[in-house]
Symmetry: D2
């Protein structure tokens, strides 16, 4: 499994408060739920780069997840205030990779990190170039 | 809020084992998850009455939920073996109501009970008569 | 099943954006997820009345859900901005009831409404009077 | 990110049917839910090797997740019958790694694969040797 970290300083952040529903009997956030937060990070990333991910889907395109990786350092707990920091790692015609850091809000304490790899497909599931202007919007977040 | 109970003896059962993901920090099944089990009960009900709920959706129909009610008596916990007993309470051209009992498997100990009310709609969300042969399939579970 | 509505004008609101994870194959928010939003409403209700629900749990008390009811009018969809309006309906030594309205943010369009009934118990599950100062905090939200 | 695959032929399987709640608006199983299935695979792995994971937790031990990886090939859909095949990849005093394959039941068609790495900790979160007889039970699944 891979490395953890955001190489780019060019990230997008959003905050959330941990829901009771997101915890498990160990008293911490259930491990699959960080992937939900990553997805929220991607949505927010698109929004702050100039478009709504929903538009892309309404045009018949989807950024399907090909791989996901998650490294757990410290657990988040009910009612914690969390910052999810999302960065675009890689962008090519049909491919886009994101990195994530889940931080205790107001600190640089990384609780969880992760990466996802995506492929752009059309409604039939065929790989497609990410259409304009979305490719350009996404590329604004690329490390130089 | 309503009464709890299955008036009909003509029910359908399926078993499940409680998932870790379904628990919360209180150590019990999170209260919204019983509605997930109810939905599994409806799917199983249809299957045992002769059709697959998916077929109905593929024809463009949906049994949307109009109301849901849940009464919590005793909590289910991780790894518990559970029986969900589903009964059809009411059936009219466009309407169908189900009742549920969540039991500790092998006992008559009811942990949770519930009811849902559904409306048959088409792909545009317009109310429609439940098409044949599905109406007839469903009616097999009606109390006499 | 019951009526829908908030009789009290004394409510607490919070906003959320619908997550991709909260939708189902029908393209709308899965029906159980509204109960998750109700729980967030209760948390926010407590916070805005002067305490953190977590404190109550850390003292060994829990407001367990005895009943939940949900009425579905219109679906919420991915990326919608939603306001959850929470009201305290009833408060007695060991009992507290909440009502909820799920609104399209910025409108009075009620998508979903609901009610939950809760019982205060201690760590052993025995019914207990809601301890002070929490009872007083909660009572601030009571309709006159 | 890592490789996908089960090196060991010594695996444990269980079946599930995809729940409506597990799908998203794309009509497929939401990507985080495969991690829920992996956890069910681990539970089942323990059970078939001679113990209940719950016992380990009741003794104050936990196998916390340190890393998770998931590779998505083909989506699972509502009502699909799925087999989850779980294998123990690595076992050392305090560490245990599992691999998973999510198959269309009755076939060798791998929809999703994954790996998780776990650390044994006590109730205070301190790393501990996996206690006997659980270490021995787990080791029964090790490739020779």
């Amino acid at each position: 499994m891979g490395q953890l970290g955001l190489e780019s300083s060019d990230y997008v952040e959003f905050d959330l408060r941990v829901r009771y529903a997101e915890t498990d009997r160990m008293g911490v956030v259930y491990y699959a739920n960080y992937l939900v937060w990553f997805e929220m990070g991607r949505s927010e990333y698109c929004r702050q780069r100039g478009f709504n991910y929903l538009e892309l889907e309404e045009l018949g395109y989807r950024l399907v997840v090909a791989e996901a990786y998650c490294k757990y350092r410290q657990p988040a707990r009910y009612d914690d205030l969390i910052t999810v920091r999302t960065s675009l790692d890689f962008l090519k015609r049909r491919l886009v990779d994101f990195s994530y850091l889940v931080l205790r809000k107001g600190t640089e304490e990384a609780l969880v990190g992760g990466k996802t790899k995506h492929l752009c497909v059309d409604a039939e599931g065929v790989a497609r170039t990410i259409p304009e202007p979305y490719f350009t919007y996404l590329s604004r977040g690329l490390p130089p």
